[in-house]
Symmetry: C5
Amino acid sequence: MIVDSALYRDGVRVAGGGDPPDYATLRAGVRRPGDFVWLGLHSPSADELAEVADAFGLHPLAVEDAVHAHQRPKLELYGESLFLVLKTLWYVDDTDQVETGEVNVFVGADFVVTVRHGAGSALEPARLALEADPRLAAQGPSAVVHAVADRVVDGYLGVVAELQTDVDEVETSVFSGLRTRDSARIYTLKRELAEVRRAVQPLREPVRRLAGGQIALVDGDIEPFFRDVLDHLTRAAEDVDTMEALLSSAFEAHLAQISVQQNDDMRKISAGAALVVVPTLIAGVYGMNFRHMPELEWTLGYPFALLLMASVVAGLWVFFKRSGWL
Amino acid sequence: MIVDSALYRDGVRVAGGGDPPDYATLRAGVRRPGDFVWLGLHSPSADELAEVADAFGLHPLAVEDAVHAHQRPKLELYGESLFLVLKTLWYVDDTDQVETGEVNVFVGADFVVTVRHGAGSALEPARLALEADPRLAAQGPSAVVHAVADRVVDGYLGVVAELQTDVDEVETSVFSGLRTRDSARIYTLKRELAEVRRAVQPLREPVRRLAGGQIALVDGDIEPFFRDVLDHLTRAAEDVDTMEALLSSAFEAHLAQISVQQNDDMRKISAGAALVVVPTLIAGVYGMNFRHMPELEWTLGYPFALLLMASVVAGLWVFFKRSGWL
Amino acid sequence: MIVDSALYRDGVRVAGGGDPPDYATLRAGVRRPGDFVWLGLHSPSADELAEVADAFGLHPLAVEDAVHAHQRPKLELYGESLFLVLKTLWYVDDTDQVETGEVNVFVGADFVVTVRHGAGSALEPARLALEADPRLAAQGPSAVVHAVADRVVDGYLGVVAELQTDVDEVETSVFSGLRTRDSARIYTLKRELAEVRRAVQPLREPVRRLAGGQIALVDGDIEPFFRDVLDHLTRAAEDVDTMEALLSSAFEAHLAQISVQQNDDMRKISAGAALVVVPTLIAGVYGMNFRHMPELEWTLGYPFALLLMASVVAGLWVFFKRSGWL
Amino acid sequence: MIVDSALYRDGVRVAGGGDPPDYATLRAGVRRPGDFVWLGLHSPSADELAEVADAFGLHPLAVEDAVHAHQRPKLELYGESLFLVLKTLWYVDDTDQVETGEVNVFVGADFVVTVRHGAGSALEPARLALEADPRLAAQGPSAVVHAVADRVVDGYLGVVAELQTDVDEVETSVFSGLRTRDSARIYTLKRELAEVRRAVQPLREPVRRLAGGQIALVDGDIEPFFRDVLDHLTRAAEDVDTMEALLSSAFEAHLAQISVQQNDDMRKISAGAALVVVPTLIAGVYGMNFRHMPELEWTLGYPFALLLMASVVAGLWVFFKRSGWL
Amino acid sequence: MIVDSALYRDGVRVAGGGDPPDYATLRAGVRRPGDFVWLGLHSPSADELAEVADAFGLHPLAVEDAVHAHQRPKLELYGESLFLVLKTLWYVDDTDQVETGEVNVFVGADFVVTVRHGAGSALEPARLALEADPRLAAQGPSAVVHAVADRVVDGYLGVVAELQTDVDEVETSVFSGLRTRDSARIYTLKRELAEVRRAVQPLREPVRRLAGGQIALVDGDIEPFFRDVLDHLTRAAEDVDTMEALLSSAFEAHLAQISVQQNDDMRKISAGAALVVVPTLIAGVYGMNFRHMPELEWTLGYPFALLLMASVVAGLWVFFKRSGWL
């Protein structure tokens, strides 16, 4: 599906592309370096993409990647054009899960084609942000790459913040002293973190190259902006690492809590058992059949025995309470 | 065994090699750079290989490797010729196990000799794919190297997908709440993953070199295709890493589950024991031999005692149910 | 809030900036390389910062970072000017917790602007230290950068020392033989250490660059001083690593202690149980209803039975004491 | 002890050295580059070595190393001569243990001195292999270095194969379901693996340098042979890593098995206990002294009670069997 | 405190420095490159050090480090002079602990100043060793640096050997089958190892630079000697790593032993309990009050019951012995 298409001249949107857009007319509107066409697609069919590839001369290998999706984040240079793959992430509140999509960006001297897969992370905000800053947009296609990467990486930081909340909850739960079963929750969170890492980690090298001044298509003035994106990316990666380490520690603490609880339970059970077996012994004693057992003859023998049991139980209760077993 | 042999001219198969193939005639058919002979062997005898080595001038060390198999993946340059070792992997459904084979590729300016060991991963599909794309095949022997590497690495991705299914199953099993014994299964999976890693990891450096433009025999136009293979290889390696980490976490969660279950069992057992020992105490009391025990004289003393036991048991039952011990 | 502003000439403070400071007049006082204006802000409003940015020509991306705070430590070069972000740390005794703030340093040829966020780690001492050493101050803005970095990193060492004390306490507690519950404490300490690491680790690269002689604004004579800061930073990082490893070992030892204690408890409980069930068996024997049981007829049968029980209990007690079960 | 000494000309052994060998005469036989003397020593006394050092001009630091043994594997260049230290490994079947020796190789333009310490890993086979391949031997002293390194590294692969068998045994034992005590065995194997790693790991850098074409004494034609050795070395190192990881996993699985067994035992014990305490309760009930207990008067009361006990026990037995507790 | 001071000419000690030494006179005795003054201090006061710093022109930052001690090992170049910090280690047999000191070495073209802190590791032996080898001493100040580093690193190897003994003891203890409590011992050893690592690890880079031929003050002939020191240092580091890994494995094995022991104890306890509760059931049966219980009337009923109990206990005993529970 073609989402939007437009010609940008001197950083300003001067013409939409029509529906369906006429690529030739659009590109013909490019007058000087920095002018460009931005075409945005969402889950295009193979045919749509083939047509676009044809119009803009995209490399077959890149086009194949863009159709199949499920690529690793990467930056490829095919001759003078550039192909960037980013994973998009968003957090679904209902399921507490991280979902992933993909954005492919084809960049030439006078055009950008963005191909988005997956439900979340629309690129409309990136387009609006760019259109709101003509000075940046005037830098040409690399400004679009920055706008897209910035938006995607901001999405990572949002997801990381949500996961941080989840990690804090797990932490509270582990140390709540309750009989919680956090191991499944910790496992799921580790899985989500691995998902995030797979989006974040392989993107660092591409963004580093974009920020490093070695790619012709990237204007020098825009490099600090890519360094900014790289910085956010690094922060996301560090946060993921820290959370992973904390989850591992939390899990270990959880294991220790289980052991301590088992120990506590065992001692509580034993103390409870003592409260039963000791009076049972007393009952057993007075159940013996000796002919000469003075207590048995007492009028108050029976109440005495009950009282004896009760006081032994009370004594044991106090003893176990004091020693922390009950 | 010689599987196939043919002369490729301008990317098109022009002549088969006969049976047995006449190497000299085949090579004589090479007219310009890009033309080549592709000879495919399967588990050749030392004699067969010696003859081929002689005909194509293969380096003795490489030939020795190709006879013995069980090499690490590697890329060797002997003067102007090139020797590539790849491990092949396939998943055997019946045993849920990963099996390994080996492919050795000898490359010269005008020939490729592929030597395959092991049952799985035939190279026929690679040959067919190449023959279906004459433009690529016209790049010469390096196109064959790509076709073979592409097919082998696709095999890795298939195996990785199968293992992913197994990992998901283990995960479901661990968190099923049942008294599963997943540690053996997790161990076996880790072993399989180690097997895959041994094929994938050492191949990255060779493919990186093939994609890096430093090897004379590899045509510049074909480098993006090797970068594509490298990308798939990296994805396989990352998936293996992720699965390993998940299995470790799953194993830890499994350990925690065992502890929690033991704790639950212990409390269930204790509660069950209480249901027996407390009425035993009551029976003990009424088994005492005191002369003056009014209940013993009651007509309904016995039913009363039984009722007392029953109500105590019922009370305990409710108490333990409520506190989650039963 | 503007904390202080002053002009330094030949390393000596020659004029304060007024309130509010008149930036133009201050900068006009600069006569030769090495003279500079130092403006110190604390949690400035966006407007205050915008005004400063305007007066000194600060880069918009850097200014944005300085407003939002919560950046990673980093060193950015924007053309000829330099932007340094440091995290500040201080230890709050009341809560045994590490808190974090941030210092942003903008450096030009003739000015330094420091922006501090967070309650702790005032920069006043850094200013006083610099003013006390005119020879160093005469090196120009890089001397201010050093003074600030030195003070911040000294703060790290202080925090590290406090955490070392906490780690020692945990260690003592783990091996005290008492039924301590150190896992929560260890977890919290690991969290604090992660906090410190996030301040220390990413600062190493910036300080290394400042010490490495590749930045024009940093005078060669001041590089050994940055190497000194780097050295302190490395020590802090190593101490954090060592403490982390010790905490992990301490946690494992704690786990082992729990297991050992459970084992001890179990044996103690079993021995205690034996002291009850064995006399119960004796009572049961003498509670049997055989017609011919000589002991039952004895005048001293009952005391004999009690004595028998008592001696068996005493015997078991001695036995269990000796074998270490009680 | 001097084991052997000989002059090699054009790759052929032309003269033994006599006993004791006359070094001067031997070296005088060298006619052209590639001719060399090979002197083999086994655990020489300091005096023997001093004499050799004098005759061949060996560097004092290297000689000192060769006397003391217990060095790390390393490659040292002293001016134009070369000093290589290798650890030798062999597997002693009787004790299932890996033992270590050492080989020091001094190389000059026209001589090689090999000094061996330890019982295993004689170098005779290396000498025979070299003498069997005059074309290789004609490459001069570096061919000897290769022959020695090849033999030593082949020894590593043999040891690795033996350890692999041990690891497989441990694995089988862990998952046998028996009450095995594998932790000691796993520990010992890890220790052996650490031993192997200490021989293998530090040797990689020296062999890489020998294969890398940067050492004057190593002929270019022999470099592929060193790359082959490096390959074997890498395989040994990878196998050691894989085995270590598998042992760690196996140990964890062993821990899980212990926990599961303890759980099984606990449930079995509890079920067993129930089979005793429930009939005890029944006996207690019929041991009560109520005047009116109809069953007591029944003629078949006693058999009825016994039958009741037996059926309760049988019922519990079936119940526990079905729920997997027995 | 000034320990010793002397002038070395052509590697020979030609003059002591007097008490207090007259630095100017001493340095005036230097005639040619390689002649030097060696001044040795032990825990000098700030004043003593200031005087020396003045006489030899030491860099203020280095002097500050030397006063405060507790630095990381490092090598600093201040212009033409060199400042080396080493940690010294020694093993105190009484406490089984590793203690640390520090040596600071200031090196100029014609002087060496060594400053030692801490009780152990006197440098006298280094001085004697140097004086015993005039050829080495004639290399100038770098020979002193080597002598000191060599002695300090030999100290490391000594400490490592002592710790190896401790590790072996722990290992024996863990696998002794006794109810040992090794976790505290293992923890302490890990702490000591961390101490050693902090001395060894950061020294490698400085020694590598000293051996690498990039420092003007270090004579080329002495570089192999520094490589020798580096080699020892690497060995120490590797030994520490190996010991750490072994201790971790030993700790894990210890954990497994605890679990196995608990399991054994539990089964032993259960078997013991069975020996009591089963006869108690028998006693309970014969304590029932049925009117018609033939055994109760038997003359030998009581002995029969006792015998029955005894044989049941004996039977259980044999059963549990055979199944390994007792």
